[in-house]
């Protein structure tokens, strides 16, 4: 992630549903946690611990990395993690084939839409 990292749109998300993100970091003293932006709305979040947000993944969004003090070697265990729960269109609108599990020979056991709903 560069300084203004990877702003993007989640094209395969359902347009009417929301993604949820929760952020948590293990950062040393003096490190900044970084930001999360929803660019087209002009809002941002400071990614402090236990912060969570619902947002529409079809709006352009991105983030910046945690920052350590200039001129100092970065501490190896300085990490931020986020969990994103999101709504891929084909899963939430019932048109996708779902992978139920693995089969031999690198195959997947797939449930097609007609096996899941009668619509």
């Amino acid at each position: 992630m560069g300084f203004f990292g990877s702003a993007h749109v989640d094209e395969d998300d359902d347009p009417g549903a929301y993604s949820h993100m929760i952020a948590h970091s293990d950062l040393p003293e003096g490190y900044e946690p970084g930001f999360f932006f929803i660019l087209e709305l002009g809002v941002f979040l400071v990614l402090d611990n236990y912060i969570s947000i619902n947002f529409n993944g079809r709006r352009k969004h991105g983030g910046t990395a945690p920052l350590g003090p200039a001129g100092q070697r970065l501490i190896k265990w300085a990490y931020r993690f986020v969990v994103i729960a999101y709504p891929p269109r084909r899963i939430v609108n019932g048109t996708g084939r779902l992978s139920l599990g693995a089969l031999p020979n690198n195959d997947a056991f797939l449930l097609p839409p007609e096996a899941i709903n009668s619509g």
């Binding site: 009417g16 929301y18 990395a65 920052l67 970065l74 709504p87 891929p88 899963i91």
Partner: protein
């Protein structure tokens, strides 16, 4: 989901109805009517001038469920 029920209940209702209608798989909990999948992102820290001292190239790792 609790936040959506609280602040945008009409949207929450629509999403719940649709999940029922299409028999959406409930990942992680039967109460999950909103999220079809999950992803974990890990990001390492960078120095303030924008370069990572420890890691070059791909500065973060991603795992999908």
């Amino acid at each position: 989901m609790a936040a959506m029920e609280e602040t945008t209940p009409e949207i929450a209702e629509r999403l719940k109805e649709r999940a029922e209608l299409v028999n959406m798989p409930r990942i992680g909990s039967d109460d999950n009517w909103a999220y079809g999948t999950f992803q974990l992102n890990l990001a390492t820290a960078k120095n303030k001038r924008g370069e990572s001292v420890e890691f070059r190239g791909s500065p973060h790792h991603r795992m999908s469920l």
